[in-house]
Amino acid sequence: MFFFENRQVVTPGDLLAEGDYVAGNNTYKDESRIYASRLGLVEYGEKVVQVVALNTFYIPSVGDQVIGKIEDVNINGWVVNINSPYKAALRASEALNKPFRQQKDDLTRFLDVGDLIFAKIISFDRTIDPVLTIKEPGLGKITQGQIVKVSPAKIPRIIGRKASMINMLKKETECKITVGQNGIILISGPSPEHERLAIMAIEKIAQEAHTSGLTDRITEMIRKEKGEKK
Protein backbone atom coordinates (compact mmCIF):
# COMPACT_ATOMS: atom_id res chain seq x y z
CA MET A 1 0.00 0.00 0.00
CA PHE A 2 1.32 3.46 -0.93
CA PHE A 3 0.67 6.54 1.16
CA PHE A 4 1.81 9.23 -1.29
CA GLU A 5 1.58 9.93 -4.98
CA ASN A 6 4.55 9.36 -7.22
CA ARG A 7 7.03 12.29 -7.18
CA GLN A 8 5.40 13.99 -4.20
CA VAL A 9 7.65 15.82 -1.71
CA VAL A 10 8.30 13.83 1.46
CA THR A 11 10.14 14.72 4.68
CA PRO A 12 12.16 12.44 6.98
CA GLY A 13 9.93 10.08 8.93
CA ASP A 14 7.06 10.02 6.43
CA LEU A 15 5.49 6.58 6.09
CA LEU A 16 5.83 5.84 2.37
CA ALA A 17 4.55 2.30 1.94
CA GLU A 18 3.46 -0.74 3.82
CA GLY A 19 3.75 -4.28 2.56
CA ASP A 20 6.15 -6.42 0.59
CA TYR A 21 8.46 -3.72 -0.85
CA VAL A 22 12.18 -3.12 -0.90
CA ALA A 23 13.56 0.01 0.77
CA GLY A 24 15.57 1.92 -1.87
CA ASN A 25 17.76 5.01 -1.57
CA ASN A 26 17.07 7.42 1.29
CA THR A 27 14.48 5.22 2.94
CA TYR A 28 14.51 2.70 5.75
CA LYS A 29 12.44 -0.29 6.65
CA ASP A 30 10.88 -1.14 9.98
CA GLU A 31 9.17 -4.53 9.78
CA SER A 32 6.91 -4.12 6.73
CA ARG A 33 6.76 -0.32 6.79
CA ILE A 34 9.01 1.89 4.67
CA TYR A 35 9.80 5.40 5.85
CA ALA A 36 11.67 8.30 4.22
CA SER A 37 14.99 9.24 5.78
CA ARG A 38 15.68 12.38 3.71
CA LEU A 39 13.83 15.33 2.27
CA GLY A 40 13.06 14.66 -1.40
CA LEU A 41 10.68 13.24 -3.97
CA VAL A 42 9.26 9.77 -3.49
CA GLU A 43 9.40 7.31 -6.38
CA TYR A 44 7.35 4.12 -6.32
CA GLY A 45 8.65 1.32 -8.49
CA GLU A 46 7.40 -2.22 -9.07
CA LYS A 47 9.20 -3.51 -5.99
CA VAL A 48 11.42 -0.70 -4.80
CA VAL A 49 10.36 2.44 -2.96
CA GLN A 50 12.94 5.21 -3.02
CA VAL A 51 13.39 8.91 -2.37
CA VAL A 52 15.30 11.21 -4.72
CA ALA A 53 16.97 13.49 -2.19
CA LEU A 54 17.11 17.27 -2.56
CA ASN A 55 20.46 17.51 -0.82
CA THR A 56 23.06 14.89 0.05
CA PHE A 57 26.77 14.65 0.71
CA TYR A 58 29.17 12.28 -0.98
CA ILE A 59 29.83 8.90 0.63
CA PRO A 60 32.62 7.07 -1.24
CA SER A 61 31.83 3.83 -3.03
CA VAL A 62 34.31 1.43 -4.65
CA GLY A 63 34.59 2.00 -8.40
CA ASP A 64 33.44 5.64 -8.32
CA GLN A 65 35.46 8.16 -10.29
CA VAL A 66 36.01 11.36 -8.36
CA ILE A 67 37.82 14.66 -8.64
CA GLY A 68 39.96 15.46 -5.61
CA LYS A 69 42.43 18.02 -4.38
CA ILE A 70 45.81 17.15 -2.88
CA GLU A 71 45.83 18.36 0.72
CA ASP A 72 49.02 16.89 2.11
CA VAL A 73 52.11 15.00 1.02
CA ASN A 74 53.36 12.10 3.16
CA ILE A 75 56.52 10.03 2.82
CA ASN A 76 54.77 7.37 0.75
CA GLY A 77 51.73 9.05 -0.68
CA TRP A 78 49.21 11.89 -0.66
CA VAL A 79 46.13 12.87 1.32
CA VAL A 80 43.29 13.87 -1.00
CA ASN A 81 40.16 15.87 -0.25
CA ILE A 82 37.32 14.28 -2.23
CA ASN A 83 34.47 16.49 -0.98
CA SER A 84 33.29 13.82 1.45
CA PRO A 85 33.35 13.29 5.22
CA TYR A 86 36.32 10.97 4.70
CA LYS A 87 39.78 12.00 3.43
CA ALA A 88 41.15 9.73 0.71
CA ALA A 89 44.66 8.29 0.49
CA LEU A 90 46.64 8.01 -2.75
CA ARG A 91 49.70 5.79 -2.36
CA ALA A 92 52.81 6.48 -4.40
CA SER A 93 52.60 2.95 -5.85
CA GLU A 94 49.14 3.80 -7.23
CA ALA A 95 50.42 6.94 -8.94
CA LEU A 96 53.89 6.21 -10.36
CA ASN A 97 54.62 3.86 -13.22
CA LYS A 98 58.02 2.87 -11.89
CA PRO A 99 58.94 1.29 -8.56
CA PHE A 100 58.83 3.89 -5.81
CA ARG A 101 62.04 4.49 -3.86
CA GLN A 102 61.47 6.45 -0.71
CA GLN A 103 64.99 7.86 -0.47
CA LYS A 104 65.30 9.04 -4.05
CA ASP A 105 61.86 10.07 -5.24
CA ASP A 106 60.48 13.43 -4.24
CA LEU A 107 56.72 13.05 -4.30
CA THR A 108 56.05 16.78 -4.64
CA ARG A 109 57.60 16.57 -8.11
CA PHE A 110 54.62 14.47 -9.25
CA LEU A 111 51.78 15.96 -7.26
CA ASP A 112 51.91 18.86 -4.84
CA VAL A 113 49.48 20.42 -2.39
CA GLY A 114 46.66 22.14 -4.31
CA ASP A 115 46.88 19.96 -7.42
CA LEU A 116 43.67 18.43 -8.69
CA ILE A 117 43.39 14.80 -9.75
CA PHE A 118 40.82 12.63 -11.46
CA ALA A 119 40.92 9.31 -9.61
CA LYS A 120 39.08 6.08 -8.97
CA ILE A 121 38.21 4.65 -5.57
CA ILE A 122 39.68 1.16 -5.18
CA SER A 123 38.70 0.43 -1.60
CA PHE A 124 36.48 1.80 1.12
CA ASP A 125 34.45 0.49 4.04
CA ARG A 126 33.31 1.65 7.48
CA THR A 127 36.66 0.93 9.09
CA ILE A 128 39.15 2.44 6.63
CA ASP A 129 39.36 5.68 4.71
CA PRO A 130 38.97 5.49 0.92
CA VAL A 131 42.03 4.57 -1.19
CA LEU A 132 42.46 6.02 -4.68
CA THR A 133 44.30 5.06 -7.85
CA ILE A 134 45.27 7.16 -10.87
CA LYS A 135 46.98 4.33 -12.77
CA GLU A 136 44.15 3.63 -15.21
CA PRO A 137 43.76 5.36 -18.58
CA GLY A 138 41.90 8.65 -18.36
CA LEU A 139 42.85 9.18 -14.72
CA GLY A 140 45.59 11.42 -13.38
CA LYS A 141 46.52 15.01 -12.72
CA ILE A 142 44.23 17.70 -14.08
CA THR A 143 46.21 20.23 -16.07
CA GLN A 144 43.58 22.45 -17.67
CA GLY A 145 39.95 23.43 -17.51
CA GLN A 146 37.50 24.85 -15.02
CA ILE A 147 35.82 23.26 -12.00
CA VAL A 148 32.15 23.45 -11.00
CA LYS A 149 30.84 22.13 -7.70
CA VAL A 150 27.28 20.86 -7.36
CA SER A 151 25.46 18.81 -4.73
CA PRO A 152 26.27 15.10 -5.29
CA ALA A 153 22.49 14.53 -5.29
CA LYS A 154 22.33 16.26 -8.69
CA ILE A 155 24.98 14.16 -10.44
CA PRO A 156 22.54 11.55 -11.84
CA ARG A 157 20.50 14.41 -13.35
CA ILE A 158 23.54 15.98 -14.97
CA ILE A 159 24.43 12.66 -16.57
CA GLY A 160 20.80 11.99 -17.49
CA ARG A 161 19.06 8.83 -18.56
CA LYS A 162 21.54 6.76 -20.59
CA ALA A 163 23.90 9.76 -20.45
CA SER A 164 21.52 11.80 -22.62
CA MET A 165 22.08 15.07 -20.78
CA ILE A 166 25.84 14.91 -20.61
CA ASN A 167 26.15 13.88 -24.28
CA MET A 168 23.96 16.78 -25.30
CA LEU A 169 26.09 19.16 -23.21
CA LYS A 170 29.30 17.89 -24.76
CA LYS A 171 27.90 18.21 -28.26
CA GLU A 172 26.34 21.63 -27.84
CA THR A 173 29.13 23.33 -25.92
CA GLU A 174 32.05 21.54 -27.65
CA CYS A 175 33.64 21.06 -24.23
CA LYS A 176 35.17 18.00 -22.62
CA ILE A 177 33.17 17.37 -19.45
CA THR A 178 34.47 15.04 -16.76
CA VAL A 179 31.98 14.27 -14.01
CA GLY A 180 33.19 13.18 -10.59
CA GLN A 181 30.63 11.20 -8.59
CA ASN A 182 31.49 13.44 -5.63
CA GLY A 183 29.80 16.46 -7.17
CA ILE A 184 32.86 18.05 -8.76
CA ILE A 185 32.85 18.54 -12.52
CA LEU A 186 35.76 19.44 -14.78
CA ILE A 187 35.13 21.35 -17.97
CA SER A 188 37.74 22.04 -20.61
CA GLY A 189 36.83 23.56 -23.92
CA PRO A 190 38.34 25.28 -26.91
CA SER A 191 37.86 28.74 -25.33
CA PRO A 192 36.81 30.27 -22.00
CA GLU A 193 33.58 31.33 -23.71
CA HIS A 194 32.65 27.70 -24.40
CA GLU A 195 33.56 26.75 -20.86
CA ARG A 196 31.46 29.57 -19.43
CA LEU A 197 28.46 28.33 -21.38
CA ALA A 198 28.91 24.76 -20.09
CA ILE A 199 29.22 25.97 -16.49
CA MET A 200 26.08 28.03 -16.86
CA ALA A 201 24.20 25.03 -18.23
CA ILE A 202 25.39 22.74 -15.43
CA GLU A 203 24.41 25.23 -12.74
CA LYS A 204 20.99 25.53 -14.33
CA ILE A 205 20.58 21.75 -14.35
CA ALA A 206 21.55 21.52 -10.68
CA GLN A 207 19.12 24.29 -9.81
CA GLU A 208 16.20 22.82 -11.76
CA ALA A 209 17.03 19.15 -11.30
CA HIS A 210 13.52 18.17 -10.24
CA THR A 211 11.63 19.46 -13.25
CA SER A 212 10.66 17.57 -16.38
CA GLY A 213 11.65 18.36 -19.96
CA LEU A 214 14.95 19.73 -18.70
CA THR A 215 17.17 18.38 -21.48
CA ASP A 216 15.16 20.22 -24.13
CA ARG A 217 15.13 23.44 -22.15
CA ILE A 218 18.88 23.34 -21.59
CA THR A 219 19.51 22.66 -25.29
CA GLU A 220 17.35 25.64 -26.16
CA MET A 221 19.16 27.84 -23.66
CA ILE A 222 22.61 26.91 -24.98
CA ARG A 223 21.57 27.48 -28.60
CA LYS A 224 20.11 30.85 -27.74
CA GLU A 225 23.26 31.88 -25.87
CA LYS A 226 25.43 30.72 -28.76
CA GLY A 227 23.26 32.63 -31.21
CA GLU A 228 23.70 35.85 -29.27
CA LYS A 229 27.47 35.52 -29.30
CA LYS A 230 27.71 35.20 -33.08
Binding site: V9, T11, G13, D14, P85, Y86, K87, T127, Q207, T211
Partner: protein
Protein backbone atom coordinates in the same frame (compact mmCIF):
# COMPACT_ATOMS: atom_id res chain seq x y z
CA UNK B 1 -1.75 35.41 35.28
CA UNK B 2 -5.06 34.13 33.91
CA UNK B 3 -7.78 36.80 33.56
CA UNK B 4 -11.51 36.47 34.25
CA UNK B 5 -12.15 35.36 30.64
CA UNK B 6 -9.68 32.52 31.07
CA UNK B 7 -7.10 34.18 28.79
CA UNK B 8 -3.36 34.31 29.48
CA UNK B 9 -0.98 37.30 29.80
CA UNK B 10 -0.53 37.55 26.04
CA UNK B 11 -4.22 36.96 25.31
CA UNK B 12 -3.92 33.31 24.35
CA UNK B 13 -6.29 30.53 25.33
CA UNK B 14 -4.78 27.87 27.64
CA UNK B 15 -4.32 25.36 24.78
CA UNK B 16 -3.13 27.85 22.17
CA UNK B 17 0.37 28.01 20.68
CA UNK B 18 2.26 31.22 20.01
CA UNK B 19 2.58 32.40 16.40
CA UNK B 20 5.17 30.30 14.62
CA UNK B 21 7.23 31.11 11.53
CA UNK B 22 9.92 28.81 10.16
CA UNK B 23 12.33 29.02 7.28
CA UNK B 24 14.83 26.48 5.96
CA UNK B 25 18.15 27.12 4.21
CA UNK B 26 18.82 30.62 5.51
CA UNK B 27 22.63 30.37 5.77
CA UNK B 28 24.74 29.64 2.70
CA UNK B 29 27.97 28.76 4.50
CA UNK B 30 26.48 25.95 6.59
CA UNK B 31 25.60 22.52 5.16
CA UNK B 32 22.10 22.94 6.56
CA UNK B 33 20.32 25.74 8.38
CA UNK B 34 16.95 26.90 9.64
CA UNK B 35 15.34 29.81 11.45
CA UNK B 36 12.33 29.91 13.75
CA UNK B 37 10.21 32.62 15.29
CA UNK B 38 7.90 31.37 18.00
CA UNK B 39 6.20 34.29 19.68
CA UNK B 40 9.09 36.59 20.61
CA UNK B 41 11.66 33.81 20.34
CA UNK B 42 14.06 34.15 17.43
CA UNK B 43 16.45 31.26 16.93
CA UNK B 44 18.91 30.28 14.20
CA UNK B 45 20.32 26.79 13.78
CA UNK B 46 23.22 25.65 11.58
CA UNK B 47 24.44 22.13 10.89
CA UNK B 48 27.85 21.10 9.59
CA UNK B 49 28.75 17.60 8.55
CA UNK B 50 29.11 14.73 8.61
CA UNK B 51 32.72 15.88 8.53
CA UNK B 52 36.11 14.92 9.91
CA UNK B 53 36.34 15.07 13.68
CA UNK B 54 38.58 17.68 15.25
CA UNK B 55 40.26 16.97 17.64
CA UNK B 56 40.90 13.55 16.12
CA UNK B 57 40.83 11.51 19.37
CA UNK B 58 37.14 12.23 19.91
CA UNK B 59 36.14 10.20 16.83
CA UNK B 60 34.03 7.12 17.53
CA UNK B 61 34.85 3.91 15.62
CA UNK B 62 31.27 2.73 15.22
CA UNK B 63 29.18 5.86 14.70
CA UNK B 64 29.24 9.59 14.10
CA UNK B 65 29.89 11.97 16.96
CA UNK B 66 26.99 14.36 17.48
CA UNK B 67 27.94 17.70 18.98
CA UNK B 68 25.59 20.48 19.85
CA UNK B 69 26.11 24.03 21.03
CA UNK B 70 23.17 25.97 22.37
CA UNK B 71 24.15 29.58 22.81
CA UNK B 72 22.31 32.75 23.72
CA UNK B 73 23.44 36.00 22.13
CA UNK B 74 24.40 38.72 24.65
CA UNK B 75 21.49 40.81 23.35
CA UNK B 76 18.93 37.98 23.48
CA UNK B 77 17.63 38.88 26.94
CA UNK B 78 16.78 42.12 28.72
CA UNK B 79 19.94 42.32 30.79
CA UNK B 80 23.12 41.67 28.80
CA UNK B 81 24.12 38.03 29.04
CA UNK B 82 27.81 37.22 29.14
CA UNK B 83 28.72 35.54 25.86
CA UNK B 84 30.66 32.80 27.66
CA UNK B 85 28.69 29.54 27.87
CA UNK B 86 26.90 29.44 31.20
CA UNK B 87 26.07 26.36 33.27
CA UNK B 88 22.54 26.49 31.89
CA UNK B 89 23.67 26.67 28.25
CA UNK B 90 26.03 23.73 28.65
CA UNK B 91 23.20 21.70 30.16
CA UNK B 92 20.76 22.65 27.41
CA UNK B 93 23.35 21.74 24.76
CA UNK B 94 23.54 18.27 26.24
CA UNK B 95 19.78 17.93 26.61
CA UNK B 96 19.10 19.01 23.00
CA UNK B 97 21.84 16.74 21.71
CA UNK B 98 20.26 13.79 23.48
CA UNK B 99 16.81 14.73 22.20
CA UNK B 100 18.04 14.67 18.58
CA UNK B 101 20.39 11.69 18.82
CA UNK B 102 17.79 8.88 18.51
CA UNK B 103 16.41 10.42 15.30
CA UNK B 104 19.71 10.39 13.36
CA UNK B 105 21.32 7.40 11.65
CA UNK B 106 24.65 8.05 13.37
CA UNK B 107 25.84 4.48 12.84
CA UNK B 108 25.95 5.07 9.06
CA UNK B 109 28.86 7.49 9.32
CA UNK B 110 31.52 6.13 11.65
CA UNK B 111 34.54 8.32 12.48
CA UNK B 112 32.83 11.56 11.51
CA UNK B 113 31.15 14.35 13.43
CA UNK B 114 27.87 16.20 12.95
CA UNK B 115 27.94 19.63 14.56
CA UNK B 116 24.83 21.59 15.44
CA UNK B 117 24.93 25.26 16.41
CA UNK B 118 21.83 26.82 17.93
CA UNK B 119 21.99 30.57 18.36
CA UNK B 120 19.24 32.25 20.33
CA UNK B 121 18.92 35.80 18.99
CA UNK B 122 15.94 36.74 21.13
CA UNK B 123 14.60 34.68 24.04
CA UNK B 124 11.12 34.59 25.49
CA UNK B 125 10.76 31.25 27.25
CA UNK B 126 10.70 27.79 25.73
CA UNK B 127 13.97 28.22 23.83
CA UNK B 128 15.08 24.64 24.47
CA UNK B 129 11.98 23.39 22.69
CA UNK B 130 12.14 25.87 19.83
CA UNK B 131 15.89 25.15 19.59
CA UNK B 132 15.26 21.41 19.23
CA UNK B 133 12.57 21.98 16.61
CA UNK B 134 14.76 24.27 14.51
CA UNK B 135 17.84 22.05 14.86
CA UNK B 136 15.85 19.10 13.47
CA UNK B 137 14.94 21.23 10.46
CA UNK B 138 18.56 22.23 9.90
CA UNK B 139 19.60 18.55 10.06
CA UNK B 140 17.00 17.62 7.44
CA UNK B 141 18.17 20.52 5.27
CA UNK B 142 21.77 19.31 5.52
CA UNK B 143 20.69 15.95 4.08
CA UNK B 144 21.53 14.00 7.22
CA UNK B 145 19.49 10.76 7.10
CA UNK B 146 16.93 10.71 9.91
CA UNK B 147 14.41 8.22 11.25
CA UNK B 148 11.97 11.05 11.88
CA UNK B 149 11.88 14.77 12.52
CA UNK B 150 12.05 15.86 16.15
CA UNK B 151 9.65 18.47 17.38
CA UNK B 152 9.47 19.92 20.88
CA UNK B 153 6.95 21.90 22.85
CA UNK B 154 6.30 22.64 26.51
CA UNK B 155 3.18 22.60 28.64
CA UNK B 156 2.82 23.62 32.26
CA UNK B 157 0.67 24.98 35.04
CA UNK B 158 -0.02 28.68 35.51
CA UNK B 159 -2.48 29.92 38.17
CA UNK B 160 -3.82 26.39 38.57
CA UNK B 161 -4.55 26.04 34.84
CA UNK B 162 -2.73 23.61 32.52
CA UNK B 163 -1.43 25.71 29.62
CA UNK B 164 0.45 25.04 26.36
CA UNK B 165 3.68 26.67 25.13
CA UNK B 166 4.65 28.86 28.10
CA UNK B 167 6.33 32.20 27.50
CA UNK B 168 8.97 33.76 29.71
CA UNK B 169 6.66 35.30 32.34
CA UNK B 170 4.50 32.19 32.61
CA UNK B 171 7.63 30.07 32.92
CA UNK B 172 8.99 32.21 35.78
CA UNK B 173 5.74 32.97 37.62
CA UNK B 174 3.93 29.70 36.92
CA UNK B 175 3.88 26.60 39.08
CA UNK B 176 5.32 24.06 36.66
CA UNK B 177 6.84 23.54 33.20
CA UNK B 178 7.06 20.25 31.24
CA UNK B 179 9.17 20.41 28.03
CA UNK B 180 8.65 17.44 25.70
CA UNK B 181 10.52 16.48 22.51
CA UNK B 182 8.65 14.07 20.31
CA UNK B 183 9.11 12.08 17.11
CA UNK B 184 5.62 12.28 15.62
CA UNK B 185 5.70 9.43 13.09
CA UNK B 186 7.39 6.97 15.42
CA UNK B 187 5.38 8.15 18.41
CA UNK B 188 8.47 8.27 20.62
CA UNK B 189 9.44 10.84 23.25
CA UNK B 190 13.12 11.81 23.27
CA UNK B 191 13.07 14.54 25.91
CA UNK B 192 10.94 14.85 28.99
CA UNK B 193 11.72 17.24 31.81
CA UNK B 194 9.73 18.79 34.61
CA UNK B 195 10.36 21.89 36.62
CA UNK B 196 8.01 22.69 39.54
CA UNK B 197 5.39 20.46 41.07
CA UNK B 198 2.35 18.75 39.59
CA UNK B 199 0.04 15.98 40.72
CA UNK B 200 0.19 12.79 38.66
CA UNK B 201 -3.06 13.74 36.97
CA UNK B 202 -1.85 17.24 36.14
CA UNK B 203 1.37 15.78 34.81
CA UNK B 204 -0.48 13.42 32.49
CA UNK B 205 -2.64 16.31 31.30
CA UNK B 206 0.42 18.47 30.63
CA UNK B 207 2.20 15.67 28.80
CA UNK B 208 -0.77 15.07 26.52
CA UNK B 209 -1.19 18.78 25.89
CA UNK B 210 2.52 19.17 25.07
CA UNK B 211 2.34 16.23 22.64
CA UNK B 212 -0.68 17.83 20.98
CA UNK B 213 1.33 21.03 20.65
CA UNK B 214 4.20 19.06 19.11
CA UNK B 215 1.86 17.63 16.48
CA UNK B 216 0.71 21.13 15.57
CA UNK B 217 4.27 22.45 15.31
CA UNK B 218 5.20 19.39 13.24
CA UNK B 219 2.85 20.62 10.50
CA UNK B 220 4.74 23.93 10.35
CA UNK B 221 8.02 22.00 10.22
CA UNK B 222 6.90 19.94 7.23
CA UNK B 223 5.60 23.01 5.45
CA UNK B 224 8.90 24.82 5.97
CA UNK B 225 10.83 21.90 4.46
CA UNK B 226 8.48 21.57 1.51
CA UNK B 227 8.61 25.33 0.92
CA UNK B 228 12.26 24.88 0.03
CA UNK B 229 11.32 22.66 -2.89
CA UNK B 230 8.35 24.78 -3.89
CA UNK B 231 10.45 27.96 -4.20
CA UNK B 232 12.83 26.19 -6.59
CA UNK B 233 9.90 24.94 -8.63
CA UNK B 234 8.24 28.35 -8.74
CA UNK B 235 11.40 30.07 -9.90
CA UNK B 236 11.65 27.61 -12.77
CA UNK B 237 8.03 28.11 -13.76
CA UNK B 238 8.57 31.85 -13.62
CA UNK B 239 11.42 31.51 -16.13
CA UNK B 240 9.28 29.40 -18.42
CA UNK B 241 6.61 32.04 -18.74
Amino acid sequence: MINENGLRVDGRKPNELRLIKMEVGVLSNADGSAYIEQGKNKILAAVYGPREVHPRHLALPDRALLRCRYHMAPFSVEERKSPAPSRREIELSKVIKEALEPAIFLEKFPRTSIDIFIEVLQADGGTRCAGTTVAALALADAGVPMRDLVVACAAGKVDGVIVLDLNDIEDKEGEADVPVAYMPNLGLISLLQMDGSLTIEEFNQSLNLAMDGCKQIYKFQKEALKARYVTIKEEVEECLR
